[in-house]
Amino acid sequence: MPDEPRAALSRACVAVGRCQLASLHALAASAVGALVPLALLLVPVGIGLRLLPPAARALRALSDRSRARAARWTGVRIDPPAPLPADRTAPARRQAGAILADDGFWRDLAWAWLEPVTGGLLVAVPLALVEYGAFGALVQPFVWRALGDGNWYAFVPVRSTATVLAALLLGLALAAAGLLVAPAVLRLHARTGRVLLAPARSTRLNRRIEHLTDTRGRAHDTLAAELRRLERDLHDGAQARLVALGMTLDRATRALETDPEAARELLQDVRRTSERALQDLRDLVHGIHPPVLADRGLGDAVRSLAFDSFLDVHVDARLPARLPAPVESAAYFAVAEAMTNAAKHSGAREVRIALTHGDGLLRVVVADDGRGGADPAGGTGLAGVRQRLDTFDGTLALHSPPGGPTTVTLEIPCALSSPKTSSC
C-alpha cells in the first residue's frame, strides 16, 4: 500500500513542524516567565501590584495553549488548573494577593522557567537532527570547497568527493532519524509538561472528592426515587390485581352452587386478571433490568432493542467479554434513550450503533441520518442519562448540527469482567 508510507512521512513532517512551534512557544514562555519576577520586584514601588495580574493572566493564556496543544497533537489530556482569581473590581493589592495565594499560578510560573530548559531542549533534538541532516545532504555538496580543509561534518572530515558523498548519506540518515523520532519526542514533551501543567495532587483530589460527593448524592436520590416508583407500581399494579383476583375467586366459589354459568364467567375473569398481573410484573422487571441484558449482555440487549425498532438499525458490537452489570445497564438505557430520540424527533430512517471496548473504556456511538438540530439541554431524557453516567465517570457527547446527522457518543471507563460464556 503506497498510501501508508506517504501518510507516515507527512505525519512525521507535521510533527517536526510542531516541534518547531513548541520550541518557539518555550521561548515565549521564558519571556512571559521573566515578566512575573519583574512585577514581583516592582511590588515595593507599588506599580508591581498593578503589573502582576495581567502578567499572571498572560502566563495562564500561554500555559492553556500548551495544554490544548498537548491534547490536540498527542492526545495527552492535561486537566486545567482552577481559573485564576479574577475579581477585577477588587483593589489591586487584594487582586495581587489572591493571585500570589493561588497554587495554579506558582505552578504556571515554575513551568515557564523550566519549559525552555527541559521542553525546549527536548523538541530541539529532532529539529537539530533534521536541520543538520538537511545541511549535510542539500547544502554542503555545493559549498564544501569554500569551507576549506578543516571542514568536518559530524565525524566525517569533508575533503574529497567521496567524503562529501559519505557526509551526504550521513545527512540523509540524520534527517531521517529526526523525522523518525519527532512524533515520539512530541509525546514525551507533552508528558513531561504534564508534571507541572496539571493541577497539584491536592487540587485534583479536592476536585475528585467534590465530584464523588455530588454524584453519590445524586445516585442515592435516583435510587430512592426508583424504589419509590417500584413500590408504587407493585402496589397499584400486580398487588391490586391479586386482591381483585381473590375477591372474584370468592364470588365464583359462592356462585358455584347456585349459578354455575355465572361462576364460569367469573373464573374466566380470574384468568384474564391473572394474565394482566403477570404482564404488569413483566413490564416492571423489564424496566428494572431487561432479562436479555442479564442473560446475554450489552451487545445482544442492544440487538434486541434494534429488532423492536421500526427504524433500520445496524448494530456493530465488538465486546469480547461481559462488562460490569451496572455499566451494562447504564449503557443500555442510554442507547434506548438515544434510539427513542432518533425515532421520535429526528425523522431518521437508519441508525448505526457501534459498541467497542479499548484502553479501559467502553465507547458507544449511536448515529442516525436524521435532520439533527437536537438541543442537548432540551428534554429530560439525555440529562437523566448524563446524570446516570456521571456516577461511573462516564461522559455523553451530543453532536447534532442543524440538517443532521446526529451522533451520540458515550464513554464509560470500566474493565471487562467475566469472559463471555454464551455463544454470541
Binding site: 391473572s274 446475554r296 421500526f310 454464551s422
Partner: protein, 216 residues
Amino acid sequence: MRVVLAEDLFLLRDGLTRTLREHGCEVVAVDNGPSLLRALLDAGDAAPDVAVVDVRLPPTFTDEGLQAALEARRRRPGLPVLVLSQYVEPLYANELLATGEGAVGYLLKDRVTNTEQFVDSVRRVAAGGTVMDPQVISRLLTRGDARGTIGGLTPREREVLELMAEGRSNAAIAHTLHISESAVAKHIASILTKLRIGPSADDNRRVLAVLAYLRQ
C-alpha cells in the same frame, strides 16, 4: 408422545408433568441445562418426540435452556422444540426460527394456564409445525405498521394474518374468528398477494414465509 420437559421450578415442573401425562404423553423431566442436552441427544432408542424447555435454567440461570435447545437443534436439525419464556424476547424467537424449517415454538409461560391450548401447541410443534406467542406476533405487527410494510390489509385480513403467524391452522383460524374455512382461505390468498409472498401448498412453509416477511 415422548416429551422431554426442562423446568427448574418444582411447582411448574410438577404441574406441567401432570398436565402432559393426563394428555397421554410420556414425560422425562429435567431441571438444568446439561441434563437437558443429555436427555435430548443421548437418549438412544428412547429419543423424544418434542422438548418443552424453559429459557432460564441452572446452573447459570441465564438463557441456559434456550442455548441448550439451539445446540440440540444444531446437532440434530429439525428436533422439535417448544421454548417457554417468562417474557417475550423477539431476539430469542428470531434465533429459534433461524435454526431451520419449523418444528419450533416460542410461548410465554402464562400460556400453560390454558391446558388444552398448551397441549395442542406441544402436539403441533411435535408434528413439525410452528407456534409463536401472540405477543411476539403483535410486536412484529406493530413494527410492521410503523415501517409501513403491512399497510393495505383490511382489519379482517390483519386478524387472519395475526393468527396465521402464530401458526394456527385454517380450521383453527376459522373457529376463532367464527367464519368459514373457505373464507379463511380466501383471506389468506389475498394477504399473500398483498405482501407478495408466493403461495405454498404446505401450511408450515406458508407460516414460515409470513414470519420471515415480518422479521425482515
